[in-house]
């Protein structure tokens, strides 16, 4: 019996509400460090996740035993776990928001014609090694290099008690290039990266692999020559990558309904002005090529655009089916699980601020004393209070409306909604900018985020 039929049979023979998700992932990871191929790894991970909702409680079991008997045992265990959980659970789940019982096949890769252009494994390795060599060949100040490529080819089948029956094919890949530089006893690191839903040819459709190598070298050199700055409150221009980080990390997580229920800063604030009128922020799964693309989520919900903030007013949270019913909202396709071993959680997909009407040059010209900030360096953090801190990859002083010398060691911090209230200009540009970004929430998820350039006020942390 094929897997879909097996899953359907299990759903049919169970009296209780069950959802079965088969998920097979074939992945490839290639990594080159300093001219050495350190990783050439192919992995297959496949199995079935069973979720049961019984007496107001969930039970979750994952298994790699795909026989009918194995699936029956796993389902029985999930039902039993849910029942046992009911003993301790105080607030019973009242039900799930209704969804369309979607049936059909969904292929998240847009391009088909490029299959023949996809380089084979040997060619991919050669190209990655060449890019790695290019980084170190740039000069004596470049002391080390690293090039990482990974691809996932996910096949899923989701069958639920309400009649969802979908088959999904979801290929995603990403590239990252790191350059390490040294000068006068100091070392710096800089990276450039990109991720897409699609294949190698889609990944490098706009920029060649060697362009990533050049960019990483250029950035690390700027960091080597850059000076440290003194911190304080400044007017800044944030690039689409940092706008994406802000939208995802500092705002996005606070509007995930499970965090809202835990008491995040936006609890009970739907309808309030939380940002400048210039700001409209959305989460949208079904965007062709975007790294966080989702068409049908892991609960079988069709992905749609959720407007989180519209012209500065908080409009919606992000939901799974359980929270959507509780909040009387529409689930937007944000229930995602990373592998068959993970349960679906409320996650973002592609989260971004919509472009405005300002011209970037004019926005810069309007800054008397501030900074032009681009990309995130090592990482950052944000709280359910929307307080955040990110370290900046590339930064320049702006004085009297002109971009000046590069600076480094900057951190960007504040309360994200306060920052968005201070926005006085939004450019007409748009880019996704999380690169090879993954979001972590107990389990990983491939996401993207971005937006236009924003002019706003933030707290800059320096290192003097």
């Amino acid at each position: 019996m094929n897997i879909k039929k097996l899953l359907k049979q299990i759903v049919i023979e169970n009296q209780e509400w069950v959802e079965l998700r088969y998920h097979r992932r074939n992945s490839l990871k290639l990594q080159v460090k300093n001219g050495i191929l350190t990783d050439s790894v192919t992995t297959t991970l496949s199995g079935v996740a069973v979720r049961a909702l019984v007496d107001g409680s969930w039970g979750f079991v994952s298994t790699s035993d795909l026989s009918l008997e194995g699936l029956r045992a796993a389902t029985a265990e999930a039902v039993k776990a849910a029942r046992e959980a009911g003993v301790l659970k105080e607030n019973k789940i009242q039900g799930l928001a209704e969804i369309e019982p979607v049936q059909g096949n969904f292929n998240l890769a847009e391009e088909k014609q490029n299959q023949e252009e996809e380089p084979d494994l040997g060619r991919k390795i050669k190209l990655l090694m060449k890019a790695d060599g290019k980084v170190r060949a740039a000069g004596e100040d470049i002391i080390a290099s690293q090039v990482s490529y990974s691809e996932f080819k996910d096949s899923k089948i989701i069958v639920t008690a309400e009649g969802v029956e979908v088959e999904i094919y979801d290929p995603k890949c990403d590239i990252g290039v790191v350059a390490y530089g040294a000068r006068d006893n100091q070392q710096e690191r800089a990276h450039d990266s990109h991720g897409v839903t699609g294949s190698w040819s889609k990944l490098f459709a706009d920029r060649k692999l060697s362009d990533f190598a050049d960019k990483a070298v250029e950035l690390v050199r700027k960091r080597l020559e850059a000076e440290y700055v003194t911190g304080g409150q400044y007017q800044v221009i944030l690039d689409p990558a940092l706008v994406g980080v802000l939208a995802h990390e500092a705002i996005g997580h606070t509007v995930e309904a499970d965090f809202v229920e835990s008491g995040s800063v936006v609890q009970g604030r739907i309808g309030e002005q939380v940002a400048s009128e210039l700001i409209t922020l959305v989460d949208e799964g079904n965007i062709a090529d975007a790294a966080g693309r989702v068409i049908i989520d892991d609960e079988g919900t069709r992905s749609s655009r959720t407007t989180i903030i519209e012209q500065g007013v908080l409009k919606n949270y992000l939901h799974n089916r359980e929270s959507a019913l509780k909040f009387e909202a529409e689930p937007g396709g944000n229930a995602r699980a990373f592998t068959y071993r993970d349960e679906p959680l409320i996650r973002m997909t592609n989260t971004f601020i919509l472009p405005g009407e300002s011209d970037l040059e004019e926005m810069i010209a309007g800054v008397e004393d501030g900074f032009f900030l681009k990309g995130m360096a090592q990482g950052g953090q944000a709280d359910s209070t929307a307080e955040f801190m990110f370290d900046v990859l590339e930064a320049y002083r702006i004085e009297e409306g002109k971009i000046g010398r590069p600076v480094k060691g900057l951190t960007l911090s504040g309360q994200a909604f306060e920052v968005l209230k201070s926005v006085d200009a939004v450019s007409s540009d748009f880019e996704f900018g999380l690169g090879r970004g993954y979001c972590g929430k107990g389990q990983a998820a491939k996401v993207d985020a971005g937006g236009p350039y924003l002019r706003c006020r933030v707290k800059i942390g320096g290192q003097q």
Partner: protein, 461 residues
Amino acid sequence: MDNNQDKTLSQEDTNKKEFNGQEICQGLVADGSSAGLDNVEVYYQQLKSLEVVVEKNDLQLPKSDIYQGVGIRVFKNGSMGFASTNDLDRDSLKQLLEQAAVMAENSPPDRNNRLPDPEKLEKVPDIYDDRAENIQLGDLISRARSFMKEIKQDDRVTVDTAGFSASIVNDAIATSRGIVSQDSQSYFETQALALAREGEVVSSFDMEYQVSCFFEELDVADSGRKLRDKVLASLGAETIESFRGEILLTPFSAVMLMVQPIVFAVNSENIQNGISPWKNKTGKQVGADILTVLDDGTLPGGVGSGKFDREGLPQKRLTVIKDGYLQELFYNTYTAARAGRKSNGRAGGGAQSAPDIAPSNFIISGGQKTSEELIGEIKRGLLVNRYSGSVDPVSGNFSGVVKGGQLIERGKRVKPVREVMISGNIYQMMQNIVGLSREREDIMNYKLPYVLLEDVSITGG
């Protein structure tokens, strides 16, 4: 199968397959060798875990997972390839061998690609709880209940998330160089994140974490009490002025600020690639003379202990830093070959990845005084309960926010603080360690004391 029968960690259907890991490995090694490959290594891993998750003071999800997979590394004409799968039927395993061979064929040769020769392996005591196989989700639900009972003693406290888990790991390895072994370990964890709210005043998040190889050794009620008290103590936090002073890192904040930079710096691959700040520092001073760091994979009861590393070599006890002087780096077979020496058993990873480099049980030696006595010596400083920010392991620069911090003046806790940042260079600061507590805490496979550092830049809000 009888659906009413209690499910435990040893599901009967997987139980039958449980101890054939070593056989699967040996069978694949034989297949690989007869297929003309120069060398083959097969690593098998079975992970059985049960977990109960609590969210927002309520039980959210009971979970059960069994993973079973193999990772195969093949060597041909100096090239290496790796493939792994959790699909263990005969055809898939045969395909896996072919896939690994294709990976190798497409990879450039490297004279340092090799497998190690067998060494004597010894079982580490006290890393497997015989009770583990019988633990059921119901036992973990009871744990969650005891924990929540303590939390709910005060209705200002909310648990954001808490997890109570039980895991059994069975590893096996076989190589064409003659290594054949298998090992089992159990471990139990409790981790919880909570906050307190009083009217409009909200504390920052705080954490509690416990781990042990033995189910009965965890005291979840104690964990609940400690977490409740900690978040209540951080209510009403105030901003403070900036100053330079001492900071006392809790074991938890020492993970990011001490363990991660040291583990990066002593990784031989980072040394060989020239990106470790401690290249050419072996035998030289890298920290204050009270700093001694060990890595010991033979520690009885250690969560990072085991009979062998990812390449089937013993994980001997290493002195990483002795009295402030760098002694030993972490090597696997590849980096050891590059350095013209033998591996010291620090190959890390599981069946889903080729060996990398990782610590076993990473231990910072404790000092003479208790953490309370160290606080008593602080003139003006900060207790850093949690650290949330970045640490660049290459340059050592760090900058981040202190969570659940307490201002300390003249040896006493004065008040909880908020919006305080600390920054500096962590490698330089290791010279400024002036105290280490006698008591230590186990956080994952790390055993860490409180660490007192002087002359740190503390920026108020």
